[in-house]
Amino acid sequence: MNLNDIKDIVKFIKSNRIREFYYKKGDEELSFSMESPEESRENKASKTKSQPGIVSAPVTKPGETEYLMARMEGKLTEKTIVKEIVSPFVGSFYRSPSPDKPPFVEPGQIVEKNTPVCIIEAMKIMNEIEVDMKCRIVSILVENGQLVEYNQPLFLVEPL
């Protein structure tokens, strides 16, 4: 990671109002904590009340951390456009067509238009979600078997 990468990441963090960020790979380690003046005042006030050992979780939108990780690992360039594939309804997320079958896709894989990438199941409707463009799977944002909400991002993909 060079200085330009770090500048880009800081820019991204600021523009998306990400408050805390931490990355570690091998010897490389990077952490940011961004606070607005109001938050800083609130935090200072609340610190007197907080219990030792309790740390607030980073607040990010779904997919942001994965996006940054992919960026830092060199999978994405400055010009890369990343799209989300979202769930069309509430249901269980499955990565493979059945428990004994391999996953539809893996991160890094390039898939053609109309390729199925997962199943969302609700009330015994198995909804196979297909990509509507040729793309690279950047990251998978939910765990196999996890219950997902309407419009919840499931994948980050890079259109090709």
Binding site: K101, E121, A122, M123
Partner: protein, 263 residues
Amino acid sequence: MEFIDIFEIKKGIKGTFIGKNLYYEEKVDSTSNLARDLAAKGAKNGSAVIADCQEKGRGRNGKTWSSPCGCNIYMSILLKPKFSPEIAQGMTLIAAVSVADSILELTGLAPKIKWPNDILINSRKVSGILTEMSTRNKLIDHIIVGIILNVNAERDSFGPEIRDIASSLLIESGKEEHIDRNRMISSILNKFDRYYEMFLSTGLSPVLEQYQKYFGMMGKEIEIKVNGKTVKGIIAGIDPMGALLLKTADNQLERVVSGEINF
């Protein structure tokens, strides 16, 4: 043994579009797989695929369904709707009510629905419905409603591991005379057509009203596996979207859309 007669089935079709196009194969791996292939080749909305034998009948989570030849109904209905995927769950309830109505009318047996759409008679499963939907960019490409109904299967066609929990209409009727599968298929397609029209014009409420008549689980204490964890509770009802409402021990009402129920 009575045979599947596609002309007999066609004669019995009264609906406006479900079952207007029928595809029949004596033996398939799965009627839903064939329906998917036909969908890709431009098969029409409302087409039905019927087979006499099914080699890879499947249920939820990759479970298989014993599908012997010459005695049961293996059928898939292809839909290419314009509505949103969010309300597609209605199809699974429409299928359940269509099968339950047909069983009641043609055999006099008393079907019960186990949420969301298993059909039981005397607490034994006689029908399973598994629906597949394909969506792209939150738009439905197609829906395939797969229906298996054990009609004339004999007791010895069920393996010992499922003999106590699965059955057929013939076994439950206690009669020797076989039930006419052709009439049963036409009836299911006609009912599906009627409920589907109602769904498109007025929504799911008329379907749910009928569903409640067969719903045999109100007040039952159940366990349901959701996302790897087991939730216990008492069934409090079905919501307007067809989801199961479960009252848990801490008096909370949980809305369940997915999971495997155990009594």
